[in-house]
């Protein structure tokens, strides 16, 4: 039996910053919410063809398709990995912000 088709988006990392990008249909966005979702195999094939073009390969890093799922009327990445990428941050407060939240003294939770 053929594998069931799952909707996908085209993503990559920005060449200069390495930040995650999503293809909107007209260009790249740093926001997952702007991503153009391919809901049919044909649309997915078009996105894949785009990802494979030399121009795309040169202008971004690692363009590829990732699966998305619909939840409460909105699309979200199917995997935790892609969800973390889409959130553009680790899942916890980090760096100076986290340190100042903890305050001086190593014991505060």
């Amino acid at each position: 039996m053929a594998k069931r088709f799952n909707p996908v988006v085209l993503t990559a990392n920005a060449l200069e910053s390495g930040a995650p990008l999503w293809w909107t249909g007209a260009g790249w966005s740093e926001s997952f919410a702007d991503a153009r979702v391919a809901t049919t195999p044909e649309q997915a094939a078009t996105l894949q063809a785009l990802a494979d073009t030399p121009l795309m390969q040169a202008a971004t890093v690692g363009p590829c398709l990732v699966e998305v799922v619909e939840e409460d009327g909105a699309w979200r990445p199917a995997s935790r990995r892609e969800a973390i990428r889409a959130s553009r941050s680790p899942t916890f407060a980090y760096g100076p912000e986290a340190a100042s939240r903890r305050g001086p003294g190593a014991r505060a939770a």
Binding site: G18, G95, P96, P104, R107
Partner: protein
Amino acid sequence: MYRYDEFDAAFVAQRAAQFREQVRRRLSGALTEDEFRPLRLMNGVYLQLHAYMLRVAIPYGTLDAEQMRMLAHVAEKYDRGYGHFTTRQNIQFNWPQLKDIPDILDDLAGVRMHAIQTSGNCIRNVTSDPLAGVAADEIEDPRPTAELIRQWSSLHPEFTFLGRKFKIAVTGAENDRAAVAVHDVGLRIVRGPDGEIGYRVLVGGGLGRTPMIAKTLREFLPRAHLLPYLEATLRVYNLLGRRDNKYKARIKILVHEMGIDAFRAAVEDEFARLDPEASAPDPAEVARIAAYFAPPAYPELPDACPALERARRAHPEFDAWVRRNVHPHKVPGHAAATISLKPIGGAPGDATAEQMRLMADVAERHSMGELRITHEQNVVLPHLRKDELFQVWRMLASQGLDAPNRGLVTDIIACPGLDYCALATARSIPVAQAISRRFADPALQERIGPLAIKISGCINACGHHHVGHIGILGLDKAGVESYQITLGGDPTDDAALGERTGPGFAFDQVPDVVETLVRRYLELRQPGETFLQTYRRLGMTPFKEALYAAA
């Protein structure tokens, strides 16, 4: 500390200039990612989930105050105000822009630092004992040996394209604090039959998807033969090691497949062909290197320190810190101290620019300007006066660097995991944070005693989970994070790999799992026993029952 000579300075500057040009060509589109990737990896630049990551070498974990300040500067100017100290005694910056990396490398070169050989299939940063040169149990300072190997292995023409990465660790103490048995080559400085100093050479240790404890390659190697012998070992590996499968390309697989005896015979054969006198380093150069590591001019002090004892009595929190984080020192009246980068609920190994600057200030004022990074992702101040420990502690406390937990349940090692790492299968830092919060009570931590929890976010095992007393490995089971638990691992003298308890656990269950294991241990332990000792005495069964009986 070792200072660059003109040759070192020239090659670091040259490499930075080359990389600037390569980055320019990549940004202009002249190089594709496939062409550029090996070039960036040769300079410690990875691409992670959210951004590029730059890994900077800290040779054998030693750095001075000026270098620590430079790391703070890099964190602040080019990154998001912090860095992550790793289990390889290096530092990683998580958010640099590709266009800025040439400038970062120039800035680092200004303080004799670089990112060369922090990635790729070459001999990586040599690691060592963070208490090198000061530990009371030391036979000889391992740093001159580590520095000699660093110089020999840097841009070594024969060994820059090995089958896979190659990690060497050196310890000069009776107690192994450098985990030499889990390295491709581990060197222990030992005394030979006639009392002369040389090396016991271990080979084929490593973690990753096929963890192995190293085997003894040579019981005693005279000091002068070190480089020729390493050359023979690397050559045998380079020629006979597999290149068809990345997962079978480490030297441990070759040693395992050949058998240690056949591997040893091949190395000894090759070694016999070499002229050790011709390929041994020039004794004058060895002496020059050693001179950099001559002990600093310590003041003469009595060993007993009434001021310290008074401060300990007056400040129980300081007393707890001294008990846990302060180490004996060779020189009377002195001590070394661990700065824990494991505050309750923190990300293990992370330090902000402000904290780095404070550590540099403390080092300058109190530790002869020197700092060490440990493979437990902490920092050591190696040269403290006992009568200044209280001031040191007060300074550290002002920036949350006073956690009195070295070696305790909250001194957790964790790799970046799925929050940063492109290879990860599960998160590891949030798991560490949850466990840390669960065991936040300092009295409870002390009651539990020494307990090393180590967490990796995938089978590459950067978090050294195989050698955790409790090891935690995050996997992906059909899209859901699942954590496999191992018990009884140990990277030290009686090195052992942990044994798996059974089926894995969900993300949210892990703190409960650890608590269940700790409770069981507290019920079963005999007076004075550590977790590891109890586990070794009783084996897996009681722990397994505690974990799975209820299910």
